[in-house]
Amino acid sequence: MKKLMLGNEAIARGAYEAGVHVVSSYPGTPSTEITEFISKYDEIYSEWAPNEKVAVETAIGAATGGGRALSAMKHVGLNVAADPLFTVSYIGVNGGLVLVVADDPGMHSSQNEQDSRNYAIAAKVPMLEPADSAECKEFTKKAFEISEQFDTPVILRVTTRVAHSQSMVELEDRKEVPVKDYTKNIAKNVMIPANARPKHVMVEERTKALTEYNSASDLNKMEINDTKIGIIAAGISYQYAKEACPDASILKIGMINPMPEKLIREFAEKVDKIYVVEQLDPVIENYCRSIGIDVIGKEIFTLIGEYSTELLKEKILGEKPAEPMKASEPIPVRPAVMCPGCSHRGVFYVLSKLKLNVTGDIGCYSLGCAKPLESIDTIVCMGGSITAAHGMEKARGKDFARKTVAVLGDSTFVHSGITGLIDVVYNKGTTTTIILDNSITGMTGHQQNPATGFTIKNEPTRQVDLEMLAHAVGVDRVVIADPFDVDNFEKVVKEEIAAEEPSVIIAQRPCALIKKAGYTGRYVINDKCKNCKMCMKLGCPAISLTENGPKIDETLYVGCGLCPNVCKFGAIERA
């Protein structure tokens, strides 16, 4: 049976067919759907972990225990999980272990554009890169075979356009793989220096063996057509090359670490010149040069952003695209915004009004940096808000902390905010932290997390009590407040930033897009409106200014009830 599938769904299907037993992941665009689709297979145990390091360690445990295990993450998630990755490379596996990493060239939904292929090289693990959904499924299965055959973790790398594109996939049955026997093996599994030294030797030998394997592997495809132009590409770049230069000869690399040396040499013999087409870093290009093969790469192709068929036509064939139609006036941009009814809006309205310094974090609330609220000062990485505020206080003194807050979501706090809060308490900081507790992991499309009280399969579970957690690490001042009660929320923020000790405000209100929010009905603006535009300061996409004053859009309102709380004239009422 054939089915149209997202690349991410096909990876999930590949895990299912490969007989995978355990999957542990943390959500992150563009990788989230892999684990969501896996959670629909009852044959596989799946979970959301608090962060990627925890997820990968759990998968390592499962693989060491003899099961086939997988963990999926976005590129920056692999940074979090890099510590276990580098050492499990030495340990190897018992049951197969596959890490899936989704890079985001073009930064559709990310804070940087890192090329995770560098991790495979640095950690000395094999990496496969599929180019469509059918390969997503096949390569996932192949990755488990390679993992067990070569006693190594394997990374499957996708990019946004493979992860989030749909193409046809042939479905096959699941092949049950028994959980392997577990026997204590200190020399293999305990990485103290004495055991790690011989393991490093083994890793280098493994890389040589994998290099041989790769040249003979059916993961790569050599398509010899016109030999005047040769192209080496992998992943989505292969599709662009195929589209732009259908007559060229192409070496499509499926396993990009370690490189198939013999195959590349063979290809170089057959074609007159070679273009290496790869988004982001010159990984294949540098390898070709290192083995003495002359290629054309980043001297004509950019290091930045996504490639396209048109770009390749222009750079390789010299074909300029026809001048496209253009509007003769500027078209206003449409950036992403906090949704109508967003629970974060009340928080940023108050922080903006008080003109505080705000160290931000990763999540929907990153949008608190946008006009008109323009509240957030800094965003670095997951969990980086509390520590940024702490560092600022240590550099600039306690007075600065009196006008500074850190903001982060419930899921992000559990991910890696809690360690920052411990740092503040332990090192006598006085940071005020606002946990935006909207009862869900929002930006990635509503996943459960340890603070929601539900598992990935929506089963009730023990909920992390954020208030008790903050108390337990030594924060005495913990306040729970509703961010839509803006007057009270403002009072609470003023009190907490004034305190010369660490404090936590838990801003509690569910995401407007989940059932728990329970918003019904709508509000309208009546004739008491003085057109003072106070409601416009909320930056709510459902309120627009018309010739007759502000108006609530009938297609966008959710009936959240925030705007009546900022209107001084009682002009916003229930319809």
Binding site: Y240, V333, G539
Partner: protein, 207 residues
């Protein structure tokens, strides 16, 4: 098994010999463009050829400008449609229609929902929503079919069915039959929303 070229060229009457159909769906995050692309994908599979779809998830779904691509034909490599390559652009909102005109192929077809949603720069007063977008597009020689899909969606019983109304408007410009489109909707839409969506499709089709 492959796509009938008559079926393909019907969507794009100006390019009789085409073997690949490129459809772009543009709109505002949250308007249901993903579902629309999946319905077109399902209808395209039923033609028996190759199909690729590309979607955008994550941040831009939060009210930003969103684009999805559907490509079908005998064999598809790239899931992405470049400038000047779209046979049909299905626009869920006027400003978004205007934003992507550079993607339309010469002689291509625009289907535009007349709905307007102000982007944040317009709401804050930093920019103006352009006037008479449809008139300007027509003056540029673009073939535009417009429709108040929101009104029809209301008539169907759910304002969220704007996406399926627009599929209906597009459908009658194809020679994939009405029944085949309805079958694709049945395959894609959850059971409990099926009735309202089929009604929305028919209202769009007859508009």
């Amino acid at each position: 098994m492959f796509v009938n070229s008559a079926q393909l060229s019907a969507l794009n009457p100006c390019r009789k010999d085409c073997d690949i159909m490129n459809i772009m769906i543009v709109g505002v995050g949250g308007q249901g463009t993903l579902l629309a692309s999946r319905i077109i994908g399902a209808a395209a599979i039923n033609l028996g050829g190759d199909v690729k779809l590309s979607e955008v998830h994550g941040m831009s779904q939060r009210g930003g400008s969103v684009v999805t691509y559907v490509r079908y034909g005998e064999k598809i490599a790239s899931p992405i449609i470049g400038e000047g390559e779209a046979d049909v652009i299905l626009a869920f909102e006027q400003l978004e229609a205007y934003r992507y005109i550079s993607y339309l192929k010469k002689g291509g077809k625009y289907i535009v929902n007349t709905q307007k949603t102000n982007p944040m720069p317009v709401i804050t007063g930093a920019a103006k929503y352009p006037e008479d977008i449809l008139g300007k597009m027509e003056k540029m020689g673009i073939s535009v079919t417009s429709c108040d899909a929101l009104a029809l969606a209301k008539e169907a019983g759910n304002i969220k069915s704007v996406n399926v109304v627009l599929i209906g408007v597009m459908a009658k410009h194809t020679n994939i039959s009405k029944e085949e489109w309805e079958e694709a909707i049945k395959q894609t839409v959850p059971e409990k929303f099926l009735e309202v969506n089929l009604k929305a499709f028919r209202l769009g089709y007859d508009a």
